[in-house]
């Protein structure tokens, strides 16, 4: 195409040709071939061409021969002022044959393309002109019919026009809802290809003409050989001089981009789209390859890219702020528990009665290894109870000697202790009613001399090294209990007689409710308190829960919450005289002046079946059976102890029996109908501080005296405890508690530790009621 155009140039008149050098666009070369740039203003007889590059490189014009190597812009603005002058300086610029109709579709795009198109059309015009002339010559030669007009009009100039530029309309939200009418019409038939048939029917009108023409043609063909007019001749054409033209362009920079669209990626994008439609532009761009943007190196997931945009406004990634994030605190919490799990795993597994792999943890002492035998056949009357330890690696399935009976024992698993609690004596323990892994422990002493600030802690099984909640109290804590109706409430009784209720859901140290303002509060230490569900048959309400306390000032009170925590008296424990004084024959001595008419109450226990009755133990050594309905009279008094009764407990299965322990070194089993003791257990020479029945077996109870913890199994022996665990000399056992869901015992001591012991090899639990044989 280029060469042809060059051939046309002589037609235009004499001019000077300059070699313009490499250009950006091939199209530029013929243009430049027409003449120099503006660098040669002197040539008046040459058309002037100026090339202007859009944008930055305005300095580098199309001067003769120089091409600027770096050009990012691919759009060249070529403005052509085409003027042709002949020798005499006359303007012989050919006028364009085509005048675009201004009312017709005007090319709306930018100038450069328009001007190129004009140029195109101008060139086209020349080309067509020449082609037409040549074809005419050929037509004359060959005498073939041609439709000349077609050539001229074949090129529809409107086709050459550029596409009308699309103007972007601003769409608004309302446009989405607007209904748009689309009209579908049929366009005019566009002839793409028209091949007229070369066959005509004999009966048509043209048949005659066609036949004649065919005949003429056949004659010509016949005459062809030997005819002078049909001699083959050869002609030589002039080959134009070949010219090499080089074009240089910028290196085309290739880029690799990879995208991984994972399914969560798509899910996130959809969700973020709903939240923030504006940031969708960033979109799902997870770059596996390199990215041009200066993002941080962590930008490997699109989720972070998308979310980054949404949190840029929030700006909370500062280092110090991380420590205060809620998520961070929660993670710390879990991390601590997981660490504990790693450390305590075998112990916790033993607690849960899971089989533990021995030999895996080299930290286990030899002591633990020696005892475990496979479950063998039982002896005649005893059943071996499997406590969950299998030492498969040491003892295969061989049945060891059947005669060997493993004695029941306590194995210490761990102890709940920390720096805070060291030095405080454990006074009471209570399980949470809904969460069997949550334990509340109260720290304080009953001893008058050693009073210091008390503590109530909630320990969780999952973290034996630090309590979950720490409530500091003004006075020593002497009693506590979890509520059943609202399991987050913990009632704490203190040495000064005040009662406080804490909410374990919060970490605040302050009590939810306190008895400070109550006028009726206790004046002596609260020795025991309990939440009791009682039937409110009279008022028709159903079971309501009340907080009952007994304290050393001799009153049993029931607390309720109206505007504040307040209480009413259930019972005043009057001093009762000892029966021995009323022996016949003796003169009745007048009792001396008493400081108080009331006897200090030390403990109480409500009947498990009928919550109207309860037992109260006093400092005098008497146990009174009372009823909630009468607040003046005792129903019965059980006399047997010679010292203050520290604890009474009904047997949970055989509900006619109850147990009491006292400072006179003895534990007494009573039947509620008999006023004399049924059984007495003397095994130590120290005061028994606490007793508790096992929740699983009717015969088993645990007792804590100062030097030992004892487990008694009345089905085995009534004279001796089955397990006796001796304390180290510094500590005194103060409190015992059975675990409700496993065979473990918790023992609190005066050093502030709560040891968790596992009961092993106890006799099989029995829960039927026990009848006393040979009752007196």
């Amino acid at each position: 195409m280029v060469t042809e155009r060059r051939a046309l140039l002589p037609l235009l008149g004499p001019h000077r040709r300059r070699h313009a050098g490499p250009r950006r666009r091939p199209l530029a070369s013929p243009v430049s071939g027409r003449g120099p740039g503006k660098g040669c203003p002197g040539s008046g007889d040459a058309p002037r061409v100026s090339l202007r590059r859009a944008g930055r490189e305005e300095g580098a014009r199309g001067r003769g021969g120089r091409a600027s190597p770096v050009c990012r812009e691919t759009i060249l603005t070529i403005e052509i002022f085409l003027q042709v002058f002949d020798d005499k300086g006359k303007d012989v610029t050919p006028h364009p044959l085509f005048h675009p109709d201004p009312s017709a579709a005007v090319p709306r795009q930018g100038k450069p393309l328009a001007s190129i198109n004009v140029l195109n059309s101008v060139l086209h015009k020349f080309w067509l002109l020449i082609v037409t002339i040549l074809l005419e010559l050929i037509c004359l030669l060959l005498n073939v019919e041609q439709k000349r007009s077609r050539l001229l009009t074949s090129c529809n100039f409107t086709d050459v026009q550029a596409r009308p530029e699309e103007i972007k309309e601003e769409l608004t939200k309302e446009d989405l809802d607007r209904s748009v009418d689309l009209y579908l019409t049929e366009t005019e038939t566009i002839w793409m290809l028209d091949m007229p048939s070369v066959v005509a029917s004999i009966e048509s009108e043209e048949a005659g003409r066609i036949l004649e023409r065919n005949k003429i043609y056949a004659d010509i063909c016949k005459n062809r050989p030997g005819n002078d007019r049909f001699v083959e001749k050869m002609m030589q054409t002039i080959n134009g001089a070949a010219k090499t033209k080089e074009v240089q362009c910028d290196q085309i920079i290739m880029e690799d981009k990879g995208v991984t669209a994972t399914s969560w990626d798509l899910y996130d994008s959809v969700n973020i789209l709903e939240i923030k439609p504006t940031s969708k532009a960033e979109g799902t761009r997870a770059t596996a390859g390199k990215s041009n943007k200066p993002h941080t190196t962590k930008d490997t997931t699109s989720r972070t890219v998308v979310l980054e945009n949404s949190i840029h406004e929030e700006e909370e990634c500062s280092s110090g702020a991380i420590l205060t994030l809620e998520n961070f605190q929660r993670d710390l919490f879990f991390m601590e528990r997981i660490l504990m799990e790693n450390i305590f795993q075998p112990k916790l597994a033993a607690y849960r009665q899971l089989p533990v792999l021995r030999g895996f943890y080299p930290s286990e002492t030899l002591f633990n290894f020696t005892i475990f035998k496979e479950q063998g056949k039982e002896k005649k009357d005893k059943e071996e109870q499997k406590e969950g330890f299998i030492n498969a690696s040491i003892l295969p399935d061989v049945n060891k000697s059947l005669e060997e009976v493993v004695p029941p024992r306590l194995e210490r698993l761990w102890s709940y202790t920390c720096d805070l609690t060291n030095g405080h004596s454990v006074s009471s323990m209570a399980w949470s009613k809904v969460n069997p892994d949550l334990l509340a422990v109260g720290y304080g002493t009953f001893d008058f001399k050693e009073q210091k600030k008390g503590l109530a802690c909630c320990w969780s099984l999952k973290n034996p090294m630090w309590p979950e909640r720490i409530f500091q109290c003004e006075h020593g804590v002497t009693a506590l209990d979890f509520s059943m109706a609202s399991p987050n409430l913990l009632a704490v009784g203190m040495y000064n007689g005040s009662v406080a209720i804490y909410d374990v859901r919060s970490r605040k140290d302050a009590a939810l409710l306190g008895s400070g303002e109550s006028t009726n509060k206790h004046t002596g230490p609260v020795c025991q308190l309990r939440w009791v569900e009682q039937d409110r048959g009279a008022t028709g309400e159903g079971k309501a829960e009340r907080l009952i306390c007994i304290s050393a000032d001799g009153r049993i009170t029931s607390w309720f919450i109206q505007k504040r925590l307040d209480c009413t008296d259930l019972m005043k424990i009057k001093r009762t005289e000892r029966e021995e004084k009323k022996l016949l024959g003796e003169k009745e001595r007048k009792s001396g002046a008493l400081i108080s008419q009331l006897a200090a109450g030390m403990c109480f226990d409500f009947h498990p079946k009928d919550t109207n009755f309860y037992l109260a133990g006093t400092e005098e050594g008497h146990i009174h059976k009372c009823s909630c309905s009468s607040s003046e009279q005792f129903l019965k008094t059980y006399r047997g102890h010679k010292g203050p009764v520290y604890k009474v407990a009904w047997n949970p299965f055989s509900t006619d029996m109850f147990l009491s322990c006292s400072a006179d070194w003895s534990i007494i089993l009573w039947h509620q109908d008999s006023q004399t003791p049924t059984l007495t257990f003397n095994s130590t020479t120290t005061a028994v501080h606490d007793i508790t029945w096992s929740p699983k077996s009717v015969f088993v109870f645990a007792a804590a005296n100062e030097s030992r913890v004892e487990i008694w199994d009345l089905g085995v022996s009534v004279l001796n405890p089955v397990i006796s665990c001796i304390a180290s000399p510094r500590e005194k056992f103060m409190s015992v508690l059975f675990a409700t869901n496993t065979d473990c015992l918790l023992v609190g001591d005066s050093k502030g530790e709560v040891g968790v012991f596992e009961l092993q090899n106890l006799a099989a639990p029995r829960t039927d009621k026990v009848r006393l044989a040979g009752r007196s």
Binding site: F328, I338, I343, R469
Partner: protein, 104 residues
């Protein structure tokens, strides 16, 4: 649920100290989103080393979990090796890493 937000920065520090003082804990690190350690008990080069590697691993683990079910998300990662156990609590803005030797 026993957890409730700790009320003060001091309690956070205390919990961190307790964790560091536990039996068998070799190292504790808190690393922010850019890989810069905020709190660490190891030297800086080791910390940065761990941070880079564990960050990639966490990202891959999270991608795996979410690929299976996009509504799920990774909450905790534990790597047990012959010598230690590495426990990672990942989050959008930080990484909490504790290395423990459980057999001590």
């Amino acid at each position: 649920m026993l957890w409730c937000p700790l009320s003060s920065q001091a309690e956070v520090e205390e919990t961190l100290k307790r964790i560091q003082a536990h039996k068998g804990v070799i190292a504790t690190m808190v690393i922010n989103a850019e890989g810069i350690p905020i709190r660490t008990t190891l030297d800086n080069s080791t910390t940065v080393h761990y941070a880079g590697l564990l960050h990639q691993l966490t990202a891959k683990a999270r991608s795996t979990v979410r690929d299976i079910d996009p509504q799920n998300d990774l909450t905790f990662l534990r790597i047990r090796s012959k010598k230690h156990e590495i426990m990672i609590a990942p989050d959008k803005e930080y990484l909490l890493i504790v290395i423990q030797n459980p057999c001590e």
